[in-house]
Symmetry: C2
Subunit: 460 residues, 2 copies
């Protein structure tokens, strides 16, 4: 079936783009309580579309948090089974005033589809559903391999539901590999497979000072200031050179092999261009002695995401706030264990907390890093599928981001993961003007069809 995939995509472009836009209009922000109903609506919408694509047993599975979506099509006797994973939830949209077009009104400009979730991950996960449709509704009426779908609605808010579901449903989820399209291509037109993901530990540091807010004139000089305390704790956790100061933090860090590091040096990547075109700051920062790619892919980090407390509006308020809260996350690399790092972090914060305040640390969520063996046969099938489309050899990269569920599939189901993503470096994930190249949406559908073909050819 060499040309069926390309032909299917060619014939159904407009309809498939419109469907994705419909999906993107649902503001399924999983971290915000006020969007709870939208998240549920996105799940129902997806189930309907899965049925329309020909999938069986499609259902919304209620959980303690946001629902999971399951579907399957298991009629390729003797062939491997691919478990397709993705997420239908999206990040919040702040700062909303920095979007060129509204985040939930998908808009195509210069070949890109702009919307929250366009790339992360609605636009990418939906390629799997359309690939199935290409076989079942507009092709031979059967699939070259078996497929199961498990799609979650909490990837951006900790993934608690899927973490509870997977270990309890090993039989139902039995498969031979996992396919995830939630990563990116290293450069436009460069087929890419991701073989490493950082883990994450997301935390909150809460600092209490006085019993109530105080006037900085009356009390300044004698009352503790929780904002100052937060600044002191943060700077005691990471030095100006980007080195994390938590004792033991680097103890389990495994460095990439020389082969892997030297392969990264051959990638089309210029730190100068990256700084200028992607980051746009005065300079790149971070630990000395590591390249930027190594710092982003293979080194753990410590980042502050926000500091709440006091007065930040227009004008002036001379308050010493009673409380301040810092949101802080650490990216983890093999073989750092989130629970162990959490203990080290909490212990360090308690030690460096200044006088006069009470400090508590809470873990919001955590997941270990993942490494994938590039020699397994499903990675081989993906390499072949990508070579078919692009006519060139795919590169192996790592990603600085975290897809906690990949670690879960590895540990609970013992499945190899294929991270075949269609994003681009400037897709603005988690930021204003998130986008997906329209061409990559269609390449994703075609690539997934070819991957299913190649997996089917692997035999039992």
């Amino acid at each position: 079936m060499p040309d069926h995939a390309a032909a299917f995509v060619h014939d159904h472009r407009d309809r498939m783009l419109d469907e994705l836009k419909e999906f993107l209009r649902i503001p399924s922000i999983s971290t915000l309580p006020e969007n709870r109903a939208d998240v549920r609506r996105a799940a129902s919408w997806l189930v309907k579309k899965m049925r329309a694509a020909g999938l069986e047993h499609a259902e919304v599975i209620a959980t303690e948090g946001h629902p999971l979506v399951y579907a399957d099509f298991l009629h390729a006797t003797g062939r491997p089974t691919v478990l397709c994973y993705g997420h239908y939830d999206v990040q919040p949209v702040d700062p909303i005033d920095r979007w060129t077009s509204p985040p939930f009104e998908p808009t195509v400009r210069r070949g890109n589809l702009y919307a929250r979730g366009a790339c992360d991950d609605k636009g990418q996960m939906y390629t799997h559903v359309k690939a199935v449709e290409g076989f079942l509704r507009h092709g031979p009426g059967r699939l070259p391999c078996n497929v199961k779908f498990l799609i979650e609605g909490e990837e951006e808010s900790g993934g608690h539901a899927i973490a509870a579901f997977v270990p309890k449903n090993r039989k139902r989820l039995r498969a031979d590999c996992v396919l995830v399209s939630d990563t990116g291509m290293f450069a436009p037109g460069l087929p890419t497979l991701d073989v490493g993901l950082r883990g994450i530990l997301y935390t909150e540091i809460r600092v209490r000072g006085a019993a109530g807010d105080l006037h900085s004139g009356m009390y300044g000089g004698a009352a503790p200031n929780p904002l100052q305390a937060v600044a002191e704790i943060i700077t005691a956790c990471k030095d100006r050179g980007g080195k994390v100061l938590i004792p033991g933090f680097y103890g389990k860090v495994r460095r990439p092999s020389k082969t892997e590091i030297s392969s990264w040096k051959r990638l089309p990547f210029s730190e100068k261009k990256f700084l200028k075109e992607e980051v746009g700051a005065a300079a790149l920062t971070g630990e000395k002695g590591f390249s930027a790619l190594e710092r982003m892919w293979a080194r753990p980090t410590f980042e502050v995401h926000g500091i709440r407390g006091g007065f930040t509006g227009e004008g002036a308020k001379t308050v010493i706030p009673a409380e301040a809260v810092a949101k802080v996350s650490m990216r983890l690399v093999p073989d750092q264990d989130p629970a162990a790092i959490m203990r080290l972090f909490a212990g360090h914060v308690a030690k460096v907390a200044p006088r006069g305040v009470k400090v508590t640390v809470r873990q919001a969520h955590g997941a270990p890093a993942t490494l994938i063996d590039p020699d397994n046969r499903f990675i081989g099938a993906a390499v072949a599928a990508l070579r078919d489309i692009f006519g060139k050899e795919p590169v192996f990269v790592r990603s600085g981001g975290s897809i906690p569920v990949v670690g879960l599939f590895t540990s609970a189901l013992n499945l190899p993961c294929v991270l075949m993503g269609w994003g681009l470096p400037d897709d603005n994930l988690h930021a204003p003007d998130e986008k997906l190249a329209v061409e990559n949406y269609f390449k994703g559908i075609e690539g997934t069809m070819r991957f299913f073909d190649r997996v089917g050819a692997l035999g039992g």
Copy 2:
């Protein structure tokens, strides 16, 4: 007229309390653009009440910012003139959920009137208006001295309008002393005159990192984080012992005389009780080698009031924000010059700013500290008035807060200031549940009437 003041207050209690409540219901928050019309409404209300009290030439004076209010009564030929100053604007009310009753619904509980502005400064400044009424409408129909009123609506937001107005209206404002009721009594029932105020320098530190918000997974380890930079700048400005690290910051600091410091030791003040009952933190903090009163009254400070940037809502967002802004103020003491300190601060911030970010510093407003000579005759008149009411000797204290206009009256008009305040240490200025003891409102009216009597007796 020994008993007229007490009799007037006694006979008009309920009505005068109701009037104050009416004043407090106007949410005249000068720092918030959305309350602009409320600020103007408070000015108009005040002018109406000044006329009703018998004052002449009462008018709202438009400015580039919030309006000023002026009134006078100048028929005591050959007697001194008192310029009554106060402000009708109030602080913002955040965090609104920590108020027992809504901030703009004045409520009396256990002898206290709770509302934003009850103490700071509507409740206090209004005592002057009622004192005039006590003479002109319910007494002899004349005042023992001349009075002018100049009331501003921007005390909580920098006082730009009055700072521009006073030097240009020296003749209109000609007087012999200024009366300000915007400070507090050191303890309930202890008559107090304030003879020192700290100055202030309110600033904003703005830090820019990348061109846009970035995903902390993708970019963490290579992109600068403005929130981390803010923490680094803040901790480089003040050490953990409370010492400000800006070079030259303490160069012009004048220490109080030994006599003044030893008089503070005789005040009814226990650091332990202060910590427990007023502050409620785990410990008092601040520079070693100075008592808490000295740290709050006679030492300069550095306080962070808020840090904006990134994500601080419920849930988790893994963002490296493009920008962060810290609101920071410094309290100043004699003889620190706000402009000179601003230069030192800006220079230091530029020096300690970390790599990769662009930092700018902006001054929002500034005012020098003030010291008042306790031996001048108007302070003597206030001492006598307070002795009359309380039957005991008033104490001389300083205040850690700033009333920038006091410095202005001293420098532009060369007038001695009498700071006769009616607040109490637990009045929650600038915080939820601001209050004024109802008794102190009435004592304020009576005290102002007696002060006018004593000033009249000083002669020309």
